[in-house]
Amino acid sequence: MEQALLWFFALAALAGGALMLVLRHPMRVALALIASMLSLAGIYAMLGVHVIAVFQVLIYVGAVMVFMVYAIMLLDVRDPSFTRRYAGYLLPGIAGLAVLAWTFFHAIGNSQLEAGTPPATTAFDVQPFSAAFLNEFWLYFELTSVLLLAAVVAAIAILKARRGNHE
């Protein structure tokens, strides 16, 4: 049962990723990406890493993709990028994909990987995660907030520059 669910989520994530290449309108691409991310969250939950599954849904789907969908709705420009899907690099891109994927699969197939361990119930619970996060990695936590602050300041600076150019 668990194995079947894992395969189901893997195939759903794969289908979402493949749809991103063929769909035309950016909103549909965004929905395919959201489906793929939710399937990945399901995979994380099945692996027993519930903290990361929750983060995946909250941060990626909840914050990043909502922002992206908002930008798509803001920029409803009718231009060639909406009707012609592909740039001029279609055939070289596909050929590069084939070579890269073959290399990776060769490496994975030849590697001596252990069979998947049963879900680690202690390491990824919320309590040990937050204890380790705030005891050992508090410096990185603070640096993260500095990074987010810098991102906010940079976004405001970009918007200010746009206004300055047009007035």
Binding site: L21, V49, M68
Partner: protein, 100 residues
């Protein structure tokens, strides 16, 4: 094929699909979303391997990568808005001013 190989193969395929999307697609926002797909593939391999090692450090690293991705999108989308305002298009081919 055991579970680890399945998940690592999935992360490989997602990374390759995202890379091809960045190269092949024309729309700037779609290219950004394909970059997100690449990042998701890499995070999947990170989660798989750190879950095998049962290390809390891996979880913390994944969380930090999430935050960096959020910051990246917060910068990238205003830049795309700026480009679209300037050229009235999202076509990546329109922004080849630096080509000699």
């Amino acid at each position: 094929m055991n579970n680890t190989q399945l998940l690592l193969s999935l992360s490989t395929v997602l990374f390759c699909l995202g890379l091809v999307g960045v190269i092949v697609r024309r729309n700037l926002l779609v290219m950004l979303m394909c970059m997100e797909l690449m990042l998701n593939g890499v995070i999947l391999s990170l989660v798989t391997l750190s879950q095998q090692a049962a290390s809390t450090t891996g979880a913390v690293l994944v969380f930090l990568v999430f935050v960096v991705a959020a910051a990246e999108i917060a910068i990238a989308v205003p830049i795309v808005l700026l480009l679209a305002r300037r050229k009235h298009t999202l076509d990546a081919d329109a922004f080849s001013d630096l080509k000699g």
